[in-house]
Symmetry: C2
Subunit: 153 residues, 2 copies
DNA sequence: TATTGTTATACTCTATAACTATA
DNA sequence: TATAGTTATAGAGTATAACAATA
């Protein structure tokens, strides 16, 4: 497992702002942990899936581009890429114009795994949303936008 | 780093429900990742801090209780506990009535580290919240409650 | 000479299996 | 015999340093 800091203690003397901040932080960790548990292939780590997702969203990458995007060292990414290649999820092809580079892209099988994982993760959230009131769903939809803004600031 | 699945691809033909689910999932991962980066002591892992937080919230534990709570094997938890003990954050004391057991609890120093870490994590959220409109803050406060409900269902 | 990818090596976190002490 | 904790060992993920091939 990767991260389980979802029971963080509250600050001692929480005035309103700090209480709100703690609540949001704890709720975020707890939900993230729950969502992360919904993986299509339990033997694939978050880091491995993140590479497949990056290739899906942003297309083919070189090794260095993947390492930069995932903020990981080149040797570490090389190892992950080798594992994904051996599992048949991605392909490595030498670059024609600059032969130091290799192009890394999804295989059809890798694409299928990504779809399956996304569908399963979304299925959990969709079912949960379906049990809420329309007002609650609206609140979460607005909150999602604000959360991204906060995370990216 | 632990988890970086914050760029998950959207489902192919997102109708409204599935789009809302994807947005919430992505926003949650992204914010969790950002918050996780705010650690007081960069050499302490999430797993180690989670143990300190559990002891703060729920009091002293035996090794097995900690392993169960964090959903980790006993040997793995034993290793984490040994590291935390060597760092001076926790104490191990043999149980008087059942001498197979050991009681694990925070030291004063460990308590201080928890407070510091919580304060730093909350500081980031508080600063971010301060830049929002009152309506946005209200939305996030309501969302936090709903998110916990979704995570715990 | 600089850049891209890879290999060598080492450290952390995780697990299962085996062991010790106690119930 | 069963249980709680620990030790032994191994695999995955991470990093830095050193190397090979290419620009």
């Amino acid at each position: 497992m990767n991260n389980r800091v979802d029971e963080s203690p509250l600050p001692d003397q929480g005035h309103d702002d700090s209480a709100a901040a703690s609540e949001l932080r704890m709720a975020t960790f707890r939900l993230a942990r729950r969502l992360r548990a919904q993986r299509a292939i339990d033997t694939m780590s978050d880091g491995q899936f993140a590479v497949l997702a990056a290739l899906t969203v942003h297309g083919a990458h070189t090794l260095g581009q993947l390492a930069d995007r995932e903020r990981v060292s080149a040797p570490s990414m090389n190892r992950t890429v080798t594992l994904l290649e051996n599992a048949g999820y991605i392909s490595r092809t030498p670059d024609e114009t600059d032969r130091r580079r290799v192009t890394i892209d999804l295989t059809d099988y890798g694409r299928r795994i990504v779809d399956e994982t996304v569908r399963r993760r979304d299925a959990f959230v969709e079912e949960a949303l379906a049990e809420l009131t329309p007002e609650e769903r609206e609140t979460l939809a607005r909150a999602a936008t604000i959360m991204r803004k906060v995370a990216d600031r």
